[in-house]
């Protein structure tokens, strides 16, 4: 805003064409608050209108051009000056000249590539935004509108279980198993811990989900570890032959998909940390990486189909099975 404006000024704002129908999602801001933003996927068109509203109607506004940009950029917090733009599109809305009355400009960025998911982390931020600018001699008038991009995946073809025998020689031997190595964000981790040898006095056992955000390259790599969840799976002292089940629902936690070497700037990886604590507070742990991915939402499913599945969960009876068949027939037919 200019305090020495002799003459005209204007307000600029951006409105999407599908603002009424497009879904909004919550996304964390840098200071930890959650805000809602329009959700886009890779390849979707971004179209809308830029409204330039003159503050003093009647007076003309001189400018050196009006444009709108669609930007995808990575910002490292320790290096704020340099933004790494990986998507940069621009549409000129008006050639240099003047406006005498408030105007609206249409724009469309067709089938925009949005290769990465929006991410706000501890040391790095990846964001997408529209920026409308009225270019002027001394100071531009601009407005930014952030959007959120989700990257979707489908069920991986290969999703082997993780099964390992670990321990300390002649002291503690366990076999742990997790049913998959790749989990979607609303998945359930089903597993078990089997005790082969227990010569220490265990007090309890827990599973932690750890998020590791890696920024920087070469000698200046920095890892930021954050324990997202701690979930106790056993209280008390186990003996040989005991098997402890694991059932950890991921939907309750604030997770993102695994991001590997995004634009060679940062990574976000997730680990399951199995921790056993003995009576003297000594901790024995084994970390295992898992891959998290984002599943597309179910587009349409009839209510009766869902109800039939729900009833089968409890009974598994012939009646509910035939209800399921019927509902499936109805849906496809």
């Amino acid at each position: 805003m200019s305090f020495f404006s002799f003459g005209q000024s204007a307000e600029i704002d951006v409105v999407l064409n599908d603002a009424e129908t497009r879904k909004k999602v919550e996304h964390k801001t840098e200071d930890g608050k959650k805000d809602k933003y329009f959700l886009f996927y890779d390849g979707e068109t971004v179209s809308g209108k830029v409204n330039v509203t003159l503050k003093n109607p009647g007076k003309r506004l001189e400018h050196h051009g009006i444009k709108i940009e669609f930007v995808g950029q990575i910002e490292l917090y320790y290096d704020r000056g340099n933004h790494h733009e990986f998507v940069s599109l621009v549409k000129d809305l008006a050639r240099p000249g003047e406006i005498t009355q408030s105007q609206t400009f249409d724009f469309e960025f067709t089938h925009v590539e949005k290769p990465y998911e929006s991410y706000t982390g501890q040391n790095v931020k990846l964001r997408y935004f529209l920026r409308a600018t009225v270019i002027r001699r001394l100071n531009d008038i601009n407005k930014e509108m952030d959007i959120v991009v989700h990257t979707l995946s489908t069920y991986p073809e290969l999703n082997s279980s993780i099964k390992m025998e670990v321990g300390i020689e002649d002291c503690l031997h366990i076999e742990f198993e997790y049913n998959k190595s790749k989990y979607h964000l609303k998945d359930v981790i089903v597993g078990k811990i089997y005790f082969l040898l227990v010569r220490i006095k265990i007090k309890h056992m827990e599973i932690d989900i750890i998020k590791r955000e890696t920024t920087g390259t070469g000698p200046s790599v920095y890892h930021e570890n954050d324990t997202i969840a701690k979930y106790e799976i056993m209280d008390g002292a186990p003996v040989r032959g005991e098997s402890i089940p694991i059932r950890l629902f991921l939907a309750g936690y604030d997770l993102t998909p695994t991001m590997r070497d995004i634009n060679k700037k940062f990574s976000v990886r997730y680990y399951l940390n199995l921790v056993l604590i003995d009576e003297e507070e000594r901790r024995y742990f084994k970390q295992q990486e898992i891959t998290l991915w984002r599943k597309g939402d179910v587009v349409r499913k009839s209510m009766s189909h869902q109800a039939a599945i729900a009833s089968q969960r409890f009974e598994g009876s012939a009646a509910s099975e035939s209800a399921l068949e019927q509902a499936a027939k109805e849906e496809s037919g």
Binding site: V166, G167, I168, V190, V239, G241, R282, V298
Partner: protein, 182 residues
């Protein structure tokens, strides 16, 4: 392809537990008692000794039941040896109580009953914490302290068994062990 709306959360299959394992004695029995303080010596050369009795079924200890007499400075020796040779953060001993060794005190000084009891409790806690540590169990000094009648201060420090960090069999991957200081 049917995408199940309800996730499959059934438990994974596991071997049923053997009844002898379930109801047998646990393989982690280790109890050390520090008791029966006795004052040894005369005049200004007196000191207190404690009985240190260990009962265990851990195979790493040669004797399943052992009984020795130790004094405070023996515990200090053990702490120093472990701090030097092992990578553990050794728990603290009860205080040295130098003030109690000064003359002209109103009370019995080092041989005050309440003080001896307080020290006994601290030594018992110390030895139980350290003897249960898998890395401390590797050290010869611990075994000598607990199970040999006298401590040979000229002994050759070393490990009792192969370092527990290394892998004898390629099937095992080792834990990191960390001791949280309380």
């Amino acid at each position: 392809m049917t995408d199940p709306v309800v996730a499959d959360t059934r438990r994974l299959n596991s071997k049923p537990q053997d009844l002898t394992d379930a109801y047998g004695p646990p393989s982690n029995f280790l109890e050390i008692d520090v008791y029966d303080p006795q004052i040894v010596g005369v005049g200004r050369n007196r000191y207190t000794t404690y009985e240190v009795r260990m009962r265990t079924n851990l195979p790493i200890f040669k004797l399943k039941d052992s009984c020795v007499r130790r004094r405070y400075s023996d515990f200090e020796w053990l702490k120093n040896e472990l701090e030097r040779d092992s990578k553990i953060v050794v728990p603290p001993l009860p205080g040295k109580a130098l003030k109690r060794q000064l003359p002209f005190r109103g009370d019995e000084g080092l041989f005050e009953e309440a003080f001896i009891e307080e020290r006994r409790v601290g030594l018992e806690q110390f030895i139980n914490r350290i003897a249960g540590h898998p890395l401390a169990q590797n050290e010869r000094c611990l075994h000598m302290f607990l199970q040999e009648e006298t401590i040979d201060r000229n002994y050759i420090p070393g490990k009792v068994r192969k370092n527990r960090y290394t892998c004898a069999c390629s099937m095992y991957i080792y834990f990191y062990i960390t001791l949280i200081q309380s």
